[in-house]
């Protein structure tokens, strides 16, 4: 596999990149902080990714950076057949309610930025006969919930967009994989109280990599969240108004 990884410097993206490195996939890293990407690149080389692992600048809040980053990746890898997006921002509902600028950034990164990036990526994948576009959305997008109204709205939009891509382009070879993580213990959630079913990034990464290999359009991780969200999706409105989940 020749993969472009957006957001592999941290969290679940780092864990997934390590699994891909260990099996010898060719990797290209894109992200915001070049010096930090270089350190991740060395880590992945030591773990088995064919050297050199190259990097390019790309910022979700700067759509102009998308095309050049993917062009670089295309040149360096001599074409790619997978793009994985784990880049994303999180802020709590309270933080965003009190800080509209923060809300604007999260919405712009997690919805507009991610979608526009995916547009660039899927055009390139389709041009070379298809490939995998794996994007991390969230269970937060499954239902309007009190603790994640704004973040959840962005992720809901993202999930719907990815679903549409799958419907339209699967037949032409684009395998869209929408990942819906539940609570996973990463730096993003370090300040939050973990629920009993909190997952570890590495276990999530293993599950996601299987989904990528099989071209599953949708994957919940940890797996238990599939059942949880099935219940949540079906709870009547008056219950959702009462509970704090």
């Amino acid at each position: 596999m020749k993969a472009v990884l957006f957001g592999a410097s941290k969290g679940m993206g780092r864990a997934l990149a390590r699994l891909m490195a260990a099996r010898g996939d060719r990797l290209f890293l894109i992200g915001r902080v070049s010096e930090d990407l270089e350190r991740s690149a060395r880590d992945l080389e030591i773990r088995g990714a064919p050297a050199p692992v190259m990097t390019a600048f790309c910022d979700l809040l700067n759509p102009e950076s998308f095309a050049p980053a993917l062009d670089r990746a295309e040149r360096e890898l001599d074409g790619f057949n997978a793009v994985v997006v784990t880049a994303g921002m999180f802020a709590t509902q309270e933080e965003m309610e009190t800080d509209p600028q923060l809300a604007a950034r999260v919405l712009a990164a997690d919805f507009t930025g991610t979608v526009l990036f995916c547009e660039e990526a899927r055009r390139r994948l389709l041009a070379t006969g298809g490939g995998t576009l794996c994007v991390f959305s969230s269970v937060a997008g499954e239902r309007g919930r009190k603790p994640v109204i704004l973040y959840g709205a962005a992720k809901a939009g993202l999930s719907k967009y990815l679903e549409g891509l799958d419907h339209k382009f699967r037949a032409r070879g684009l395998r869209t994989v929408c990942v819906k993580p539940g609570f996973v213990k990463t730096g993003m959630t370090a300040g939050l109280k973990p629920p009993p079913m909190a997952g570890q990034p590495e276990a999530v990464a293993r599950r996601v990599l299987r989904a990528i290999d099989r071209g599953r359009p949708e994957v919940y991780a940890p797996a238990a969240w599939r059942g949880v969200m099935c219940i949540i999706r079906n709870l009547p409105r008056f219950v959702m108004r009462k509970i704090e989940f």
């Binding site: 410097s9 941290k10 969290g11 780092r14 930090d36 350190r39 991740s40 060395r42 880590d43 030591i46 773990r47 990463t186 730096g187 370090a190 300040g191 939050l192």
Partner: protein, 446 residues
């Protein structure tokens, strides 16, 4: 966005004491340590070494900073971020034929923790502590600067940091050579030993021929059986004796809940010690074993510290110089039993030369480590009695295991403390970097 600290209950592996800490956790360790007063790794030290001095003094959790930054397959030299765990290193390197020069008895430790405690392993008698092998450290010191230190640059700071229990600064990166191994399997021999004299003699003899040795003793046996146990020896297997396949990743079981206190009554402990001894039914066993089974037998059970119940437990580890044969070890075990001590596991190991770390634990002699559940009044009294004996014998305790030692006892066993304090004062005159342990033992302010 600047990194926000969050509240979290913190404790060491013994689950006592527990503090409501303020934690800074990020892949970006330089950012996490910027406002922190202490760093911690996987919390495998038993007592209060990894706990902040106060509930509002932020502590940096290094575990997400776990990247490998450079590896030279010709020399084995590895540089990595301080939060990288030994578990990860083993997973990446063991099957490629490399192993750390020194490994403690669990792989759930970070490189930062291995340096800060200057850990020792079954090969101490030949290879010394981990710190002997460290070539360089990147350290954030109290005034915020980030400094490279080694035996040639800021040597004092380097040597105070090795075994310095995190009190000289935040370790950001560690550089040391991995060691080539002939195969990833272990050839081991173990034998049942009837008493302490035979155990001590066995360790001494084994040390001449084997690169790795350790003994387990039944710390409840008395009289003629005092010090009976199992003596274990090992070396890396040669390719022609080892299985062709690399050792499989072992599944681990998990202790699902905290055990009730009663699980640790004396009869149960006796039964455990007896079973462990007699499980080794043949007087001598030899053969190829999985490296995890050899180095990390306890890691097979996740969260095994829950077995000790609500009050938690502690480990007492000391090293006693060999001045008169195994007299010191005998007196120690007798004191332990007579002072009402009882424990599950007691590990005995002959240590080699003292290392370069200014406060590093091992010295030539015999090291004894034992775990016991905490009783609010009896345990501090027991530790006092043991410490009095250790002082009289000219020995010292291992800070990374300690929870109850009094400052006056610690000073009495540590003539090296003054020199360590001087280096610490030089780099941190306001004593910003401190821990719950340094408040207890070194008189730092809380």
């Amino acid at each position: 966005m600047t990194l926000q600290p969050h509240r979290s209950k913190l404790s060491g592996w013994g689950r006592f004491p527990v503090v409501d800490g303020l934690v800074l956790k990020s892949e970006d360790l330089p950012a996490a340590t910027e406002g922190a007063t202490l760093s911690r790794g996987l919390g495998r030290s038993y007592g209060d070494s990894s706990l902040p001095a106060g509930t509002d003094l932020p502590v940096a959790d290094a575990t997400l900073a776990d990247r490998l930054l450079g590896f030279d397959p010709a020399s084995g030299m590895l540089r990595a971020e301080a939060g990288a765990s030994l578990f990860e290193l083993n997973r990446v390197f063991l099957r490629r034929g490399w192993f750390v020069p020194v490994s403690p008895g669990t792989q759930f430790v970070t490189l930062g923790g291995m340096v800060a405690s200057d850990v020792h392993g079954k090969n101490h008698h030949v290879d010394g502590c981990f710190g002997e092998h460290v070539r360089g450290l990147k350290l954030r010191v109290a005034d915020g600067r980030i400094i490279e230190c080694s035996d040639t640059a800021e040597q004092e700071l380097f040597r105070a940091t090795i075994g310095g229990m995190g009190l000289t600064g935040h370790i950001l990166e560690v550089e040391f050579p991995m060691r080539p191994i002939p195969s990833p399997w272990i050839w081991s021999e173990s034998q049942r030993v009837e008493n302490l004299d035979l155990m001590a003699a066995g360790l001494k003899e084994a040390a001449r021929e084997w690169p790795m040795t350790v003994g387990w003793i039944d710390c409840l046996a008395r009289g003629a059986k005092l010090g009976r146990g199992i003596l274990m020896k090992g070396r890396w297997a040669q390719p022609d004796e080892a299985p062709k396949k690399p050792p499989p990743l072992k599944g681990r079981l998990r202790v699902p809940f905290q055990f009730p206190g009663i699980a640790l009554c004396k009869p149960n402990m006796k039964a455990f010690n007896l079973a462990y001894y007699w499980k080794h039914i043949q007087p001598c066993r030899r053969g190829i074993v999985h490296p995890d089974a050899f180095f990390y037998p306890l890691d097979a059970l996740d969260d095994w510290n829950l077995i000790y119940g609500r009050r938690g437990f502690t480990q007492y580890q000391c090293v006693l110089p060999h001045a008169d044969g195994n007299g010191p070890a005998r007196r120690f075990l007798e004191r332990f039993v007579s002072a009402g001590g009882m424990g599950f596991l007691c590990v005995i190991k002959d240590c080699g030369a003292e290392g370069k770390g200014m406060l590093s634990f091992p010295q030539p002699g015999i090291s004894i480590a034992m775990d016991f559940p905490i009783h609010p009044t009896k345990t501090p009294a027991l530790v006092d009695r043991l410490n009095e004996l250790v002082i009289a014998e000219g020995g010292r305790i291992y800070l990374t295991k300690d929870t109850f030692t009094r400052p006056e006892h610690f000073r009495a066993m540590e003539p090296r403390l003054e020199a360590f304090n001087a280096v610490r004062r030089k780099w941190d005159p306001e004593v910003r970097i401190r821990s719950a342990q340094s408040v207890r033992l070194l008189g730092d302010s809380a």
